[in-house]
Amino acid sequence: MISIAVLGEGYLFLIGKAILLLIVIPAFSMLIGYSFLLKMMSHMQDRLGPMEAGPHGIFQLLADGLKFLQKEDLMPNGSDRFIFKAAPIVMLVSTFLLYVVIPIGPHMVLENLHTGIFYVLGVSSISVIAILMAGWASSNQYSLLGALRAGGQLIAYEIPLVLSVVGVIIESGTLSLQGIVKAQANGNLFGLPIRNQYLISQFIGFFIFLISAQAELAQTPFDMPLAETEIVAGYMTEYSGFRFLLFYLSETATAFALSAIASTLFLGGWAVPFIHGTLAQVIGPFVLLAKTMLIAFLIFWFRFSLPRFREDQLQAFAWKFLIPLGLVNILITAIFKVAL
C-alpha cells in the first residue's frame, strides 16, 4: 500500500490524514465557490459580484461563513430533531470519503484502495440518504417534495455514472484510481503510437460522466431537487445558519471532488507526458488542480446557461438516452479491447 510518504503508517498518521482533509475540503470548497459561484457567474451576467471583502472580494465566502456561524440554531416545530441535526453531517461524510482515494501525485494518495473507483461510486450515494433524512425530518412539504425528487434523480443518474466508468475500467484493467492514471500515462491508443488519455477513446463515457455528474450535483439543467422558484430550496428549505453552511460546503466540495475524479478518469489525472520522478511528484497536484478546475468550469458554465428540466423529462433522458448509450459504449469498448 502506497501512502503519502511524509505521513507513513499508524493511528497517529490516520488522524493526521483526517486533519489534512478537514483543511483541504473547506479550502477547495471556497476556491470553487469564489471562482465559479461568485465571480464567473457574475461576469457571465454582466456584473462584478462581491468586490468589498478583500481584493476583488476574495474573502467574501469567509465573511459569509463567519456570518452563518453567528446565526441562531433554528429548527422547525414538529421536526425530527435528531435526524434533522444528523442530515448535514451525513452529507458531509459522503463528501469527506470521496477525497480519500483521489491520487494527486505518483505516491501521493491518502489511501490507494485497489477498488478505488468502486468505492467512489459507493460513497457518493450516501448523499441520497442525507437528502432524504433532511427532507423527511424538516416536516415541510417543500422539503419533502425536494427530497423525493432528489431521491429519484440521484438514483436514476447513478446508473449512467457507473456505466460510463465501466468503459474506463475495461480499458485500463484496474479499479484503482492510481492504476487508471498510470494506465493512461503508459498506455497507447489501441496500438497506435499516441499516448492515450481516455478522453480520446472514451469520449462517449466522458460525455455521459459529465452529464451524470451534473445531475448528481443537482446543478441547473438537473436542479429539480433545489428548484428555488418551485419548491423554495427543496430539502434545504428549513436549514439555516451552521447547518446550511454544512450543506453548502458539501455541495461545492462534492463538485470539486467529482471534477477531480472526472479528470483522473478521462484527462489523465496528475500525469503529464515526459515528466517523471521528483518533478512529477512536485507538479502533479497542480496539474490535477488545473484539470479539475477546467471540468468544474464546464459544470458551472452549463449551470448558468441553461433552464431546468421537468422531473419526467429528466427521468426520460436518463433511462431512454444515457443508459442505452452507456451500454453501447461498454459493448464497443469491450470489442476493441478483445480485438486489438
Partner: protein, 390 residues
C-alpha cells in the same frame, strides 16, 4: 351598516369565512401546498393554495388581496392631479401606461382633447412603458424555469428605456407626467435621436433573448403544450392582452378602438398566435416588444410640433357625468370608469385591471398539471401584484 362597529364585524366575519374555506382544504387528504404569500414564483404576495396528489395538482385556489391598497377608494378623496400619483403604482413596471386611460376619461368628461404633439409624446411614453414592462417578463420567465442569466441582461437593457423615461419626465419608475389636457413638459433636446438609438439596442436585446431562451431546447420542452388556453375559454374568463392574442383571438384595443392617441398614424401589426400555450405567450410578448420599438421609431420621425397643453383652467373641475376609457396596457386591457359629480376629484372610480381577470383562469388552468408546470403557467400568464390587488 352605517355604524363603524358593524363594518368591523362584517369584515371580521368575511375574513373568518375565507380562512375556514382554506382550512377545510388543508384538513382534507393529499398534500396542501401554500404557494405564497412569500414564495419566489409569485412576484410578490399572491397566495395560491394548491392541493397536490404526489406532484399533480388536484385543485388550485388563488387568494389575492395581500397587497390591497384601496386605490379606488383613495381616488375619492384626491383631486384629479393627485390621482395620477396613486395610479402610477398599480402596474409598477409600466407605470406611465396606467396614467393615460384615467386622464383620457377625465378629458372625455371635460370634452377637451390634448394637442397632437402631446398625443404623440403620450403614445411614445406609453410604448416605452410597454417595453420596460415586458422586457422584465422576458428575462423573468427564464428565472422561473431555472435559467438565471437572461434576467440580468433584461434588467441591463431595460435601463436604456428607463433612462429615456427619466430624462423626459424626471421619474424612472413613476413618471406622474400626464396632465388633463396635455403633458407636464415638452421633451428635452436631442431626446428623439437618443430614443431611436435606444430602440436599436432594444431590438438587439430581443434578438439576444430569442437566441438564448426561445431557441433553447430545454426551454421549448418546458413551455410547449403547457397551460394551453383555448380561445373560447380565454374569452369566457375575460383574459386580455397577450394572453388572449396567444390563444388566437385577434383583439387589440390600440387598433380596434379609436382614442386620442397616435397609434392610428403609424404602420404596425397585431401579432396573433394560435397555440395558446406558455411558449406562444412568451413568443408573442417578444414580438410585441419588437413591434413597440418600430412604433416608437415611426412616431419619433412623424412627431408634429406645436403646443403640448390644451386650454384648461388652472383649477380643474370636471363636469358631472360618467365616462369609461380603456387602453391596451402592457398586461392587457386596463380601463377606468370615472363618475364625476362636479367636484375637484372623482366621485367614484372603478379600475379594471388586466391581471385580476388574467389570474381568474388559474383554478381552471392549473387543474391536473404537475407542480413544475404550475410555475411555467404562472410565469407565462404574467401578472403583477399591484395590478391584481390595486
Amino acid at each position: 351598516m352605517s355604524n363603524p362597529s358593524n363594518w368591523n364585524q362584517a369584515s371580521y366575519i368575511s375574513a373568518q369565512a375565507a380562512d375556514a374555506r382554506i382550512n377545510i382544504e388543508i384538513e382534507s387528504e393529499g398534500t396542501v401546498l401554500n404557494l405564497g404569500p412569500q414564495h419566489p414564483a409569485t412576484h410578490g404576495t399572491l397566495r395560491i393554495v394548491v392541493k397536490l396528489e404526489g406532484e399533480k395538482v388536484v385543485s388550485a385556489d388563488p387568494v389575492c388581496g395581500y397587497m390591497h391598497r384601496g386605490y379606488e377608494k383613495l381616488t375619492e378623496v384626491r383631486t384629479y392631479a393627485q390621482v395620477t400619483t396613486l395610479i402610477n403604482r398599480i402596474d409598477w413596471l409600466g407605470s406611465f401606461a396606467n396614467e393615460v386611460p384615467f386622464i383620457l376619461a377625465a378629458e372625455k368628461l371635460m370634452e377637451v382633447e390634448a394637442p397632437p404633439r402631446a398625443q404623440w409624446i403620450r403614445t411614445i411614453l406609453f410604448e416605452m412603458a410597454r417595453i420596460a414592462n415586458l422586457s422584465v417578463f422576458l428575462g423573468e420567465m427564464g428565472v422561473q424555469l431555472g435559467a438565471i442569466t437572461p434576467v440580468f441582461y433584461a434588467f441591463r437593457d431595460r435601463e436604456f428605456v428607463l433612462n429615456l423615461i427619466e430624462s423626459a419626465t424626471g421619474g424612472r419608475f413613476h413618471p406622474n407626467f400626464d396632465r388633463i389636457g396635455g403633458l407636464k413638459e415638452d421633451l428635452p433636446k436631442g431626446w428623439l435621436q437618443s430614443t431611436q438609438q435606444a430602440m436599436v439596442k432594444m431590438r438587439h436585446f430581443c434578438d439576444e433573448l430569442e437566441q438564448m431562451l426561445l431557441e433553447n431546447e430545454i426551454f421549448q420542452a418546458r413551455c410547449k403544450g403547457v397551460g394551453v388556453i383555448p380561445a373560447d375559454v380565454a374569452l369566457n374568463y375575460g383574459l386580455s392582452g397577450a394572453n388572449l392574442r396567444a390563444s388566437g383571438v385577434d383583439w387589440d384595443i390600440r387598433r380596434d378602438q379609436d382614442c386620442a392617441l397616435a397609434w392610428k398614424h403609424c404602420d404596425w401589426k397585431v401579432h396573433v398566435l394560435d397555440e395558446g400555450d406558455s411558449f406562444a405567450r412568451y413568443k408573442l410578448r417578444l414580438q410585441e416588444v419588437r413591434e413597440s420599438t418600430h412604433i416608437i421609431d415611426q412616431l419619433c420621425q412623424s412627431i408634429p410640433s406645436g403646443s403640448i397643453m390644451a386650454k384648461v383652467p388652472k383649477i380643474i373641475r370636471v363636469p358631472p357625468g360618467e365616462a369609461f376609457v380603456n387602453t391596451e396596457n402592457p398586461l392587457g386591457e386596463m380601463g377606468y370608469y370615472v363618475i364625476s359629480k362636479g367636484g375637484l376629484g372623482p366621485f367614484r372610480t372603478k379600475i379594471r385591471t388586466p391581471s385580476f381577470n388574467n389570474i381568474s383562469i388559474l383554478p381552471w388552468l392549473l387543474k391536473g398539471v404537475y407542480l413544475p408546470d404550475v410555475i411555467t403557467i404562472l410565469a407565462s400568464l404574467y401578472f403583477i401584484l399591484g395590478d391584481i390587488d390595486r
